[in-house]
Each structure stands twice: as structure tokens, then as C-alpha cells.
């Protein structure tokens, strides 16, 4: 997730927080640091699930210290981490009465659309709630990356219209997007039979199952090491 280029102080903050988590994760005093770190993740487009779960845990221990604004940011960041189950992981720690608030209801609906592949509805709903999602830079790109991920698990060749709907890009912008993918990710454009363009997604073990390594053929090294003393 992290960007290649980070400014020095951001890195320092990240490592300081990682340090706190390693040394003393069950300490109420680190709560303000973790809150600052959430804002830091938002502005620098980085992400730390462990730090955010730790903060939600502290909120769970002392509900009176909870900031719903911070919780909302954590949830948006968790959506951006799809396909990982981070959004549910966060919800497990947020009391039900908090989840009843409107902004969280909206986020839960957004998550539902993403979990069930309903990208059209997702983008419509997101458009209606710009104030929530636009507060976090990189949101659109992250969801588009997730959409591309699911499509490439599923399709060898995907119709242009299906792709357009999933990533919510059309027309000239889509051409540009495709150009970029062709140049950088090995996508190939093909003429479909009569009904528009087809996009050939590069093979992976999920859309080309024959590429899947036969797990029966290989034994991980650490299993072999079990018998080293015997062999020796």
C-alpha cells in the first residue's frame, strides 16, 4: 500500500508507532499517538491494520474516549484494503450502537456492495456520499484496484463494458486507463465479435487453473527439516 516516496517525518512516525505496538500494545496512554497515526495514514496514503485494530481495541476498553470521526477514517481505510477482510475485522470491535450512526450505515452498505461484486451500486452510493469517501485520498484508485483484482480472478477475457462498470471509468478516460494497463500490466485488447472490445487479462493461477502449482508435488523445506536429524 505504501508509496515509494515518503517524507522523512512520516517514516519516523510510522516506526515510532510500530515500536509502541511491539513494546506496549495494551497501554491506554498510546491512544492519542494511534489517533494521530490514523490521520497520518490518511494524508500519506499508507496503512497499518495492526495499529488501527489496536486503537479500536482501546476504544472498546474505554468507550468514552472514542472519536467517531477517527473510527470512520479507519473504516474507509479498511475498505481500501479489500480483498483483505479488514473491514469486518474492524466491525467486530465497534459496538453496535455506534454502527447505527448514519455514516457507519453508509460505509457498511458500501462494504456490502464490494463484498458481493455489485460495483454499479457501489459507485452510485459512493457518489451520494462524497463527503465520507473523498476525505481519504486514494480511495477511488484503491477500489479500482480491488475491482481489477476480482475481475482477474474471474475472467480470462472481460468485455469492455463489464470492466467499465466495475471501475467506474468510461470513454476517453477508460481508453487512457487501458493504454496504461497494456503498457504496464500486460493487458491485451481484442476485438470482440460484434459487440465491442474484449480485454485479455494476463494469466494467473486463478483464471488459468492449469498454472496452479500442484501442491502434492512439493513439500515445504521446513517440513523436510524435521527429518534432518534422522538423515544425518
Amino acid at each position: 500500500m505504501g508509496r515509494e516516496l515518503q517524507k522523512q517525518p512520516q517514516q519516523e512516525m510510522a516506526s515510532a508507532v510500530e515500536q509502541l505496538l511491539a513494546v506496549n500494545p495494551y497501554n491506554p496512554d498510546i491512544l492519542p499517538d494511534l489517533e494521530n497515526y490514523v490521520n497520518e495514514q490518511v494524508s500519506s496514503e499508507t496503512y497499518s491494520l495492526d495499529a488501527n485494530l489496536c486503537l479500536l481495541r482501546l476504544y472498546q476498553f474505554e468507550p468514552e474516549r472514542m472519536s467517531t470521526q477517527i473510527v470512520a477514517r479507519i473504516l474507509v481505510k479498511a475498505l481500501m484494503a479489500m480483498p483483505a477482510p479488514d473491514f469486518s475485522l474492524c466491525l467486530f470491535l465497534i459496538p453496535e450502537r455506534v454502527q447505527m450512526e448514519d455514516q457507519f450505515k453508509t460505509l457498511i452498505i458500501l462494504s456490502h456492495y464490494l463484498e458481493t461484486g455489485k460495483f454499479r451500486q457501489f459507485w452510485d452510493e459512493a457518489a451520494k456520499n462524497r463527503h465520507i469517501v473523498e476525505a481519504v485520498p486514494g480511495f477511488e484508485q484503491a477500489i479500482q484496484a480491488y475491482a481489477v483484482h476480482v475481475l482477474s480472478l474471474t475472467y480470462q477475457k472481460v468485455p469492455r463494458s463489464v470492466l467499465a462498470e466495475a471501475i467506474n471509468i468510461e470513454g476517453l478516460s477508460l481508453d487512457k486507463f487501458l493504454e496504461h494497463q497494456v503498457a504496464n500490466s500486460g493487458w491485451i485488447l481484442e476485438k470482440g465479435h460484434g459487440k465491442g472490445q474484449l480485454i485479455v487479462i494476463p494469466p494467473n493461477e486463478f483464471n488459468h487453473p492449469e498454472l496452479k502449482k500442484k501442491s502434492s508435488d512439493s513439500i515445504p523445506l521446513d517440513h523436510i527439516t524435521r527429518i534432518f536429524p534422522i538423515l544425518g
Binding site: Y26, Q60, P85, S88, F92, L93, I227
Partner: protein, 528 residues
């Protein structure tokens, strides 16, 4: 809500050994805390001596067997004699007295119903005992069983306290003022920090790493340490505390962090955690449950299958153990969890035949109904989850403002709701699966007609299928959980049935290790 009664007020606690009928606070009229029967005197004197002589075997015998039989005989529904009454038989040994009180409270919790004051006293006793261990002034060798029970009981009493505190409605004024006054007792930070302190102070994570490189011995000696005046207590408590942390985090709904705490232990192999049946079961139960909640069904099925098979083969040896009922209860719960996993992810091939036939016997009929995804099916998911889930807790202190409300079910309701939400999101997948199983290729249009949806809805269902069957593992790698998989080429679906993988390599490795162990045993046999 399931018909199953989640509320633990009657059928008391997490495990059946605590399911005693509560008598009013255990303060029966006939009980004299200062009366020490001869058999108890002899018990403490011998136990004290065996501990001092570092005789782990005898200590274990007395701890497991004598304590149990004395309890059955003399203290069925009263507490043991107070520590003050026995202290002079054991030179007033500070550590022994702390250990005695730990057992005293454990017995009280198991057979009677502790008062708030007793809960608080037990917390204080744990604090004193743990301080002593953490400051390294202990030089005993205690049986793993006992050390495991300590961690297990500590977490259990914490869970029990949270449940108790959350039932605010019927609290007396005196109870409320005690709760306010002793707000540090069973405080969640305190509990987590003790467990964490054991892990850190014992350097157990480092020891396990060193062991992988052959620089340390821990597993091979079952954690015992006979060299010089050293003690196994801190090390093994540190080790079991990782399991304790997994459990506490599961109780809080933090499955990711829970699994992270367990990471230093390689559960695919024998370890100290398998040397005590209770620890083995607790570890795998929580590991499996956490993976279920993380949608890593295959991992959950694997481990549930292994332990259920293990219990099936070995349970006869535990029939006389005080843990026997607990083993049976967890066994049943894990079958329920396995039924859920296999319903959501029908990888029956991963389940051993013996386990599978048990599973069908217990839940076969329910599992068929679970495939239907109607209201009745959801009710069964609800029922099995409620029966088999950990007893979730709300860790925060109550609001003492009137009106006093119960919140002991809040945490459970939230986890149940989110779980059922996940089940609903997957509701159309079993339909797709049925069709995919009978075709090798089929067009989107055709399948849409069969499933009575339009083509674009079908595309979303297929995406959902892919997303839900491809879990992200702990290092971010995508793992396929799909029994039937497919790919789409334009508008044709190609079906790929996953073939059973026979892990011959693993099988041979296991047998090689087994054979070597057997040969070593034979070598040790001296024939006259």
C-alpha cells in the same frame, strides 16, 4: 435469536466443570474454614514436600488425582479449608500459600458460585502469585498441567467476571459500591498485561526461534528444565500465555490479533501445547474459530478435522480425567463449527472419513437444510454459532448511572449479527455451485436462465463466488478455498473441478519421524 439459551446464568460457564448448581455464595452453614481434616493436612504436607524436592511426577499425581478425589470426598459443596488454617503445616511458605489459594479459588469457582468479594480476592491472589513469578524468585518445577490450568483459569475468571459485571440490573447497592471501589480488579488492561508480561519476561518467542535452529531445547523436554537450580514456571507460563492471549482476543472479537499472538507456536506440529489435552483443545478451538471468522475456511477445516480425529482416537484415555466433560463439550462445539465451515466451503475431501461420519451423524440433516438459504437455514446457522462460539465479553466497565441495564449479551449479539451477515452475503453461492458441478462449460446467458436472474446479476454473483472463495492469508497471499472453480472467457464459463490432493510427501515424512521414534524407544529397551 436462536432457541439455544446463550445466557450463562443457569448452565453456568464456558465449560461443564463449572456448571455446578450455584449454592448461595458457598457459605454453607456447616463450613468451618479453620477445620483441617487429617487427609488435607497430609495432602498439603506431601504436596509441599514434592514441590520442594522438585519431584514433578509426584507433584503431578497429587495435583491431578489427590486434589480431585479429596474435593469429591470432602468438599463437594463447600470450599477447602482457608489458607491460614493450613499455612503452618507448610512453614508458612509464601509461594506455596499463593498456589494453595489459587487452587482454593479454582475449586470454589468450579463447585460453588463466587461472591463479588471472592472474585476480587482471587484477582488479588493472581496478582501476588504472578508478581512473584515475574520477578523470578521461583525455583520450582511445576507440572505443565498445573501451569496450563493457571493460565486457563485466569482467563476464565476474567471472562466470568465480565459476564457477571455486565448484569447490572440485579446488583445490590453493596455490590455496586464494591465494583466502584475495586475498579482495578479483573481490569482488561491488567489481564492482558500480565499475559503479555509472561510472554516477554520468559523470552519464550526467542526460545522457540532458537529451538528451530537447534540452539535450544524446549519442546523435546516438554518445557521442563532440570539443569541447575532453574525453574520451568516462567517459561511455560509464558508459552501458555500466548494461547491465553489468543483466547482473550477471541473473547473480544479481535481475531486477527489473536492469531498473531499464537504465531510463534507452530500448531502443525507437536509442541508443549499438545502435552496437555486442555491446552491442545483450547488452542485449536480458538484458532479454528478465528479462521472461520476471517473466512479462511480451509485452515479452520484442516485443524478442526485433525483435533476431532485425535479426540476420537484418544478420548477413552481421558475418561477419568477431571477435564473429561470439558473435552466432550468442546468436541461437540467443534463439530458444530466444522458443520458451519463445511456448509460455507464444501471441501469435504479435507475431512477424514471417521470425522466425516461423526459429522453426518450429528449434523447431517441440519447441513442439508443449511444449503437451502431460506429463513430456516439461517436459523440453523444461528443455532450452531450460538452453541459453539466463545463466550464473548464486553471489557469496559459499566455505567453506574440509573437505570442500570444488562449488557452481558451485547458482545455476543454483535458477533452473531456480523457472522449471519456474512452468511447472507454468501447465500447465492450454493446455487451457483450446484450448477457448476454439472457443467464443464456453460454460457452466461444459459446459466442466468437456470438461476432465474438477469445476466448482469449473474456476473455479480460469479464475482462474489470468486471473492468469497479466495481468502487472503496472514501474509496477504490469495488462497483458493474453492471446491469447484471456474473462469470466464468473454461469456462462456469454464468449470474446473479441484482434484483431491494426496499429500504423500507429508505422509511419508510423518511416518519416517514415527519410525525413528519407535526405533529409539526399542533401543532403550534392555533385554536380559
Amino acid at each position: 435469536m436462536a432457541s439455544y439459551d446463550y445466557d450463562d446464568s443457569r448452565a453456568n460457564y464456558d465449560d461443564p466443570r463449572h456448571a455446578a448448581v450455584p449454592s448461595p455464595a458457598g457459605q454453607d452453614i456447616g463450613y468451618d474454614p479453620n477445620f483441617v481434616p487429617d487427609s488435607v493436612k497430609s495432602f498439603v504436607v506431601h504436596l509441599y514436600r514434592h514441590i520442594r524436592e522438585k519431584n514433578v511426577y509426584e507433584t503431578h499425581q497429587m495435583y491431578e488425582t489427590s486434589f480431585q478425589s479429596l474435593s469429591d470426598r470432602l468438599f463437594k459443596d463447600t470450599p477447602w479449608p482457608s489458607v491460614d488454617a493450613v499455612a503452618h503445616f507448610v512453614d508458612n511458605d509464601h509461594v506455596f500459600c499463593l498456589l494453595y489459594r489459587e487452587m482454593w479459588f479454582r475449586h470454589l469457582y468450579a463447585r460453588l458460585s463466587p461472591t463479588l468479594k471472592q472474585r476480587i480476592d482471587s484477582w488479588d491472589n493472581y496478582c501476588s502469585l504472578f508478581q512473584v513469578v515475574l520477578h523470578g524468585v521461583v525455583n520450582m518445577q511445576l507440572p505443565n498441567q498445573w501451569l496450563w490450568d493457571m493460565v486457563d483459569e485466569f482467563v476464565y475468571q476474567f471472562q466470568s467476571f465480565c459476564q457477571y459485571r455486565a448484569k447490572m440490573k440485579n446488583k445490590t447497592e453493596q455490590e455496586i459500591s464494591l465494583l466502584r471501589q475495586f475498579d482495578q480488579a479483573w481490569n482488561v488492561y491488567g489481564v492482558l498485561n500480565y499475559l503479555q508480561a509472561f510472554v516477554e519476561k520468559s523470552s519464550i518467542i526467542h526460545i522457540l526461534e532458537e529451538e528451530k535452529e537447534g540452539l535450544e531445547q524446549f519442546t523435546a523436554t516438554d518445557g521442563y528444565d532440570y539443569s541447575g537450580g532453574s525453574s520451568n514456571v516462567l517459561k511455560v507460563l509464558g508459552y501458555f500465555s500466548m494461547v491465553g492471549l489468543l483466547r482473550v482476543h477471541c473473547l473480544l472479537g479481535d481475531y486477527h490479533t489473536g492469531l498473531k499472538c499464537l504465531l510463534p507456536i507452530d500448531i502443525s506440529q507437536q509442541g508443549v501445547f499438545t502435552s496437555v489435552i486442555g491446552s491442545h483443545i483450547t488452542t485449536i478451538y480458538h484458532y479454528g474459530f478465528a479462521n472461520l471468522m476471517l473466512r479462511r475456511y480451509v485452515d479452520a477445516i484442516h485443524e478442526f478435522n485433525r483435533i476431532l480425529l485425535y479426540i476420537y482416537k484418544t478420548k477413552q484415555y481421558h475418561q477419568k480425567s477431571p477435564q473429561y466433560e470439558h473435552i466432550l463439550k468442546k468436541n461437540e462445539q467443534m463439530y458444530a463449527l466444522l458443520a458451519i465451515c463445511v456448509s460455507l466451503c464444501p471441501q469435504v475431501k479435507l475431512v477424514d472419513e471417521t470425522v466425516n461420519s461423526q459429522l453426518r451423524e450429528k449434523y447431517g440433516e441440519k447441513m442439508i437444510r443449511m444449503q437451502r438459504y431460506d429463513e430456516e437455514a439461517f436459523a440453523i446457522y444461528d443455532e450452531l454459532f450460538s452453541y459453539a462460539c466463545p463466550k464473548f465479553i464486553t471489557p469496559s466497565a459499566p455505567s453506574f448511572e440509573e437505570p442500570l441495564v444488562n449488557y452481558n449479551q451485547d458482545a455476543y449479539r454483535l458477533q452473531l449479527k456480523l457472522f449471519l451477515y456474512e452468511v447472507k452475503q454468501q447465500q447465492l453461492l450454493s446455487g451457483v455451485r450446484t450448477f457448476l458441478k454439472v457443467y464443464s462449460t456453460i454460457s452466461l446467458g444459459q446459466l442466468a436462465i437456470y438461476m432465474e436472474v438477469d445476466e448482469s446479476t449473474l456476473r455479480t454473483i460469479l464475482l462474489t463466488y470468486k471473492h468469497k472463495t479466495h481468502a487472503v492469508d496472514s501474509v496477504g497471499k490469495i488462497m483458493s478455498n474453492a471446491d469447484v472453480d471456474f473462469y470466464i472467457d468473454d461469456d462462456i464459463i469454464h468449470v474446473v473441478e479441484s482434484k483431491p490432493v494426496n499429500r504423500y510427501g507429508d505422509f511419508f515424512l510423518r511416518q519416517i519421524v514415527k519410525l525413528e521414534g519407535l526405533i529409539n524407544d526399542l533401543d532403550r529397551v534392555k533385554l536380559d
